[in-house]
């Protein structure tokens, strides 16, 4: 049969070198405390070669582990000259075995969490009601704010080259942001920075915004993760 090679390649995805090593130990039914290091090193390196062949990206950590394995192998091959030293008496595989044991435990713990996640996913609680008329219900995190701020800075950097010396205080900007919010329920994040042409002014404004959020005078919200951010004036919120 020259055609019809219907291979189905199933590649297990390994989280990291320890995961791969653990897989090899399990697959070959090895005793974790008595790993035949030469065999497992060969096995491990074969996998690395396979990754290469398949053009898979793999983290540098996989190579670090390869060198660790080779190091252990060489230590086991060479007779230790100074047998007096206590350290030399220890099995060079012990540290690796301990790491594998620990990793295996957390892997199991992760699968326990996964089961709980599956159960919990089927249970629904009431969704937040306030603000009801808006989709913007997720509190923006500091990361979201920083990302949005970076965009603003990037835009301004491209636009302006002149240098203006200005003395601005955070308190003043706080007042101005509150003024912008007057008679409005919210403003867009970008609006706060519009018309501001120096980095200094942008930073002071951003600090003012952070301060307002800290003081719970405004809320930064978005409709979905990484979405646009709106700044809401704090109203009476549910106490919960």
């Amino acid at each position: 049969m020259d055609s019809g090679t219907d291979y189905k390649v199933r590649l297990e995805v390994f989280e990291g070198p320890l995961d791969l090593l653990l897989h090899l130990v399990k697959k070959n039914e090895l005793d974790i405390f008595n790993i035949p290091i030469a065999e497992i090193t060969a096995d491990y390196l074969n996998y690395i070669k396979l990754f290469r062949k398949l053009n898979l990206n793999f983290a540098g950590e996989f190579l670090v582990m390869a060198s660790t394995l080779i190091h252990i192998k060489s230590r086991m091959l060479l007779p230790s000259i100074e047998t007096v030293e206590e350290e030399e008496l220890e099995d060079p595989r012990a540290a690796l075995a301990a790491r594998l044991m620990e990793y295996e435990k957390f892997k199991e713990a992760a699968s326990i969490l996964k089961e709980r996640e599956a159960i919990q996913r089927d249970i629904y609680g009431r969704l937040p009601l306030i603000p009801q008329d808006e989709d913007y219900t997720i509190e923006a995190t500091l990361f979201d704010l920083l990302d949005a701020f970076q965009k603003v800075v990037f835009r301004v950097e491209k636009e302006v080259r002149e240098i203006i010396q200005e003395d601005i205080k955070v308190e003043d900007r706080i007042q101005e942001i509150m003024n912008l919010l007057e008679n409005k329920r919210f403003i867009n994040f970008e609006t706060i920075f519009s018309g501001q042409r120096t980095k200094r002014l942008l930073i002071v404004t951003f600090l003012a915004l952070l301060e307002l959020i800290r003081l719970k005078m405004v809320f930064a919200r978005q409709a979905r993760p990484f979405g646009d951010i709106r700044i809401y004036k704090a109203k009476r919120e549910l106490v919960a």
Partner: protein
């Protein structure tokens, strides 16, 4: 306050709230500092829901109580509420979360030592999802950030508190001596 009335008020609050309410919170709202009485009423309510095979249940999660739907009926809820995305955490995220849950407060370096791989991206995602929080900085050179699990972690996994996850000693790796 009559016991039945107390129970009804609690039911109303647990139904309305979009997050678990602690006994302390319930006590504060009802201006009743008899924690035992409130706890008893909540537990009575819990039993009542169970006994009459309600579609709802009084869950004890994240150090509080909340009225939620029962898992058996999830397919019906999904028919009504299609917008719900079936979000699921990745294996690296679960691994990292379990390490944080057991070792908290823990630094990124300590997590990476156990996992053997870079974890910065995963940590960022978990922070964004609010499943973990920054609990401080370790008194070490460089003052590395310490991570701990959040209230949302407990809610996400339906845990009353951290004692509900089995201890590390109890965890037995599958099928190995």
């Amino acid at each position: 306050m009559e016991k039945e009335e107390l129970k009804s008020i609690i039911e109303c609050l647990l139904f309305f709230s979009d997050k678990p309410l602690s006994i302390e919170k319930l006590a504060e709202i009802m201006e009743n500092d008899n924690f035992d009485q409130i706890k008893e009423a909540v537990e009575d309510l819990q039993k009542e829901y169970e006994l009459r095979n309600s579609g709802l249940q009084v869950l004890n999660i994240a150090q509080g109580y909340q009225i939620c739907t029962r898992g058996e009926f999830s397919s019906w809820v999904r028919k009504l509420y299609k917008a719900q995305t079936t979000f699921q955490l990745s294996l690296p995220a679960l691994e990292t979360l379990s390490i944080i849950a057991y070792k908290q407060p823990v630094t990124r370096g300590e997590i990476e030592k156990i996992r053997g791989v870079d974890t910065s991206y995963v940590l960022r995602t978990l922070l964004e999802k609010k499943l973990i929080r920054i609990s401080g900085r370790k008194k070490l050179p460089g003052r590395p950030i310490l991570y701990a699990t959040s209230q949302d972690f407990l809610r996400y996994f339906g845990l009353k508190d951290l004692s509900e996850i089995p201890s590390l000693e109890e965890i037995k790796p599958p099928a190995s001596g």
